[in-house]
Amino acid sequence: MVKPKVQVENLRLSYGPREVIHGISFDIEPNEILGIIGPAQSGKTSLLRCINRTIEFTVGAKPSGTIRVDGEDISEMRNVYELRRRVGMVAPLPVGLPLSIYDNVAFAPRAAGMKKKGELDTLVEKCLTQSALWDEVKDRLDSLGTKLSGGQQQRLTIARALSHSPEILCLDEFSIAIDPVTTMRIEDVLKVLKKEVTIILVTNLVQQARRLAARTMFLWNGEIIELGPTEQLFGDKPKDKRTYDYVNGIFG
């Protein structure tokens, strides 16, 4: 049995008096793609934000329980910035920083202390290529990232998340603003990336989880309804009837 990359134990999260995650526990294996599906308000995004501790940015959010990355309790990590570089995050709506395309991608490496122009150039090109954006922007790396189209910005944020070579990549509905062709290109990239990175894929497109994830988790109202091999969840006989209903679109 390989040591899990991420261990979540009895994680609870409340915003003020309202608890949104009710004590969930699961492990993520190294180099797997874990799909997380579930309706809106089920706690998917909040869960991701707990893992890289950006949840602390939200006023009133109180997480409890333990999350371990490589066996180390993240709440005891002194260098939270280091943790956030190890856990890359792609948000559902594209967040182009108000900088040039180049600076957007070079932001995290620079924040981590990389200064050499040559290294940065190579890295920027590599990340933009991986996110299937390089060909479209290579001639205008100096123009503002926020001026790109929605889909391009989304790929820019993926490039940015890759720029700090994360060990864990959290994708929060990354394909929401991207056309299907580009989505497929990025999905191919993810399949390759899997060799180096552990990927958590939150998605509203259940078929996307089916295509990519080895294991899938169905999260509903802050509880894990079912977590298991993707074929099991998408097959005829998932353990829980609600999973079957959700996956087959007869929910509610």
Binding site: N52, R85, F107, A111
Partner: protein
Amino acid sequence: MTGSRSTLSIYGEKAIELLIRLCGVSAIIFVFAIFFFVFREGAPILASKDFSLGKFLTSTEWYPTSMSNVRFGTLALLAGTLSVTGVAMLIAVPFGLGAAIFVSEFCTGKVREILKIVIELLAAIPSIVWGFIGLTVMNPIIQNLFHVPVGLNVLNAAILLALMSIPVMVSIGEDALKAVPDSYREGALALGATRWQIIWRVLLPAAKNGLLAAVLLGVGRAVGETMAVLMATGHAVQIPHSIFDSCRTLTATIAAELGETREHSPHYQVLFLIGILLFTITFIVNLIADFVVKGVRKK
């Protein structure tokens, strides 16, 4: 569609549109009207044979009431205004923007509300009261602290002006920072940026237009301020060579002397000319700002 509307509502629509148009245009009309009236009072002196525009701008000799040899040189007054404003901005810009960043990014809940109220209270203090403080509080402090003979000087007035323009900068600057979408902060945060890196590399570039506007409003406030500087500068006509020299500003000169002049006398007209000079300074400041903002946008 339109057939169902009554004639009255159509005319009502037109009337409201006209009214709004009028409101928009009125700003332009007012600016030109003010410029016109100030110019009308001051312009005749330009044609007078005793007056030279070159001397007006380049001479430091200001003897407007001399019987034998009247001289109207405003260079010393201009230097006074610029030096007081300049020093005030050196103090106010870092403090004002720093406070704006603090209030917007580091404060939450109660502390923030209280701070905002107190800062706005600072803006509500009448300038004459600032003048009192300059005269009775700052004056002896500066004398004792720096061992200078006179505490009414550039430094004194600059500190007052800084304190007066800081609240304006803080509230405008804070608005500008608050207008930066939270998604930028979260995006940068998720990339492992520290708080300082977020502020320096994301927030300041994103909010620079608003912050520039905040600074310029501060400059405008400082250039135009009259009462406090009249009381705190020492009101001596000379080009200040250090921040401990007394000086006199353009605005204070108008305030102090206009009441003593005969209408349409040369002295009266020259004071109006000074008004035009002030107008020109603020116009140039705004113009530069406009170009800077546009340049920034293009990039």
